[in-house]
Amino acid sequence: MSSAKHLKTLSEDELGDFFDSFDLVFCDCDGVVWYPLRDFIPGSAEALAHLELLGKQVTFVTNNSISSVKEHIEKFEKQGNLKIDEHQIVHPAQTICDHLRSINFQGLIYCLATPPFKELLVTAGFRLTEDGGTGIIRSLKDLHEAIFSGDSVDAVIIDVDFNLSAAKLMRAHVQLQNPKCLFLAGAADALIPFGKGEIIGPGAFIDVVSQSVGRQPTALGKPGEDLRRLLLDRHPEIPPSRVLFVGDSLASDIGFARASGYQTLLVLTGGTKMEDVQRLPADHPQMPDYLADCLGQIAPTSAPNNPESSNSDSTHLT
């Protein structure tokens, strides 16, 4: 594969071959099904219904733990008129919770994440340590207290934390110097699309801790290795080449999926622009197999032109 094929440029036959080439779809949500934190992208509900009609299994793989699985399901139902099952949604708080259950984890957790993420863990019966250090640090003594005075913990979890601070990361780093303390990471994007550009994502902060402590986390959000293996293990009966991964991020979706041997479809409704794809050399590990202006283009008849894509006249990439 040396180029990304735009779905629009496929002939009727090629499109048929494309749909015959996969049984399972892994699909990102923010920037693909809906605009981040906002409404459904026009056409995506029809596209998902079309995939179902064709008998494809669809599983949503999101890095967004700010909304719960239940909220995801409600949004699919309300805005897309789609009935999505709990097991069809893979999201970091849930995968981490499942992982902790599977190893029968009983210890205390230092969790750097959003309130909904923490709530999920607490509801599942896990114990979280006090956040501590919510005050302003005025002296070395305050800093020392913020880093060293809390309970010692058995696991550190890092995902999106709007108030992540140096002191929290330093406390995490100190705890992780104990080799028995588990290190878990959720969403690990280096950059996340936000507004008209990208902002620094949790991956950058996870890397700082991981480099400082000299070990890698069990990474259960995209583009984490452990999530990658978990997804492969969910469907041992389906060969990776018969899986289509749909996403809007070159690093967190396309590169992640290609490492598993999945086919990949990049949609331009999120963080990636056509120029970003055109900049990639043909053999780049983040080069998608297929491109579409929006998910709606997967539904052959009623594909609307994506209202927010400026690249709707773009064609074949080489």
Partner: protein
């Protein structure tokens, strides 16, 4: 690759050649004169001996968290008279650098209050914050990080209250091609007690460097920054770098800095580097010419050295 030599294991002849081989000493402070826990015994004697031998002393620290006044008082407590102009620290070096390029713009800064005070006193216009915790949602994040002010330099040094909103905001200013990225202290790990390290400012600065793709364009005015080296060489009109001795306790910051500038280097084992770490170091850029247990060895060396060079 030459192995570093312990200064007390030099032959008589080597000693006098070493002592005569430099006129100027640049020295680190933390880990050399004192640590978080105690003063290094007889360190002051080492510097007194250097001065007695006619060496010019300058202190180059990465620590801008304390003020120069506090630093001078601490020197006085161990019996050393040090003038403010003998102390180089990142806040001052950044001022010198910005004046050198006649910088007039607005600055967004992630640093300690004393660091910011030094820049404000020098007349620079600073933005900072958010200095309080934000609400846990994307709307609040957006309000706190998107800003249309014409920031033309982002400065990052040690900030005990560094937060992700500050980092995200800094990164957004750096989307402007003319916005400079300036870092002070570079340490990735800071030793705070024996065997205890905390994440240092360099780790956070590197997030900005990588996220903004400025691997080649970050201006570093703490050790081992190239731009700091230029400032010092220019300021003291150093035309023979090999006649400068850099003394410090950190392989990457002090020895790396000294070697990059073409100075001779002396590592002291009284701070952030153990003998084992020194012997295990394989990067030639971080291997010193000489090492010593502490500045007390310098006192001993000079106490016994013949004064042939005078």
């Amino acid at each position: 690759m030459a192995k570093p030599q312990h200064i007390l294991q030099l032959s008589e002849e080597q000693r006098s050649s070493f002592v005569g081989s430099f006129d100027r000493v640049l020295s680190d402070i933390d880990g050399v004169l004192w640590t978080m826990e105690h003063n290094v015994p007889r360190a002051a004697d080492g510097y007194a001996a250097l001065e007695r031998n006619g060496k010019h002393l300058t202190f180059v620290t990465n620590n801008s968290v304390r003020t120069v006044d506090q630093c001078i008082r601490r020197f006085a407590k161990i019996g050393m008279q040090v003038q403010p102009e003998q102390i180089w620290h990142p806040a001052q070096s950044i001022i010198n650098y910005l004046r050198g390029i006649n910088f007039q713009g607005l600055i967004y800064i992630i640093a300690s209050p004393p660091f910011k005070a030094v820049l404000r006193e020098a007349g620079f216009q600073l933005l900072d914050g958010p200095n309080a915790f934000i609400e846990d949602n994307f709307e609040s994040l957006a309000k706190n990080i998107f800003d249309k002010e014409p920031v033309r330099a982002v400065i990052i040094d040690v900030d005990f209250n560094l937060s992700s909103p500050k980092m995200l905001r800094a990164h957004l200013y750096l989307r402007h091609p003319e916005c400079l990225l300036i870092e002070g202290a570079t340490d990735r790990l800071l030793p705070v007690a024996k065997g205890v390290n905390i994440i240092g400012p360099g780790a956070f600065a590197s997030i900005l460097v990588e996220a903004s793709g400025r691997q080649d364009r970050c201006i570093t005015l703490g050790k081992p920054g190239r731009e700091l080296g230029h400032l010092i060489v220019e300021h003291y009109k150093i035309d023979q770098p090999s006649r400068v001795l850099m003394i410090g306790d950190m392989l990457a910051q002090d020895i790396g800095f000294g070697r990059q500038c073409g100075f001779q280097t002396l590592l002291v084992l009284s701070g952030g580097c153990t003998r084992e770490q020194l012997l295990a170091e394989t990067d030639p850029r971080h291997i010193p010419d000489f090492y010593a247990d502490s500045m007390a060895d310098v006192a001993q060396l000079l106490g016994e050295a013949p004064k042939a060079h005078v």
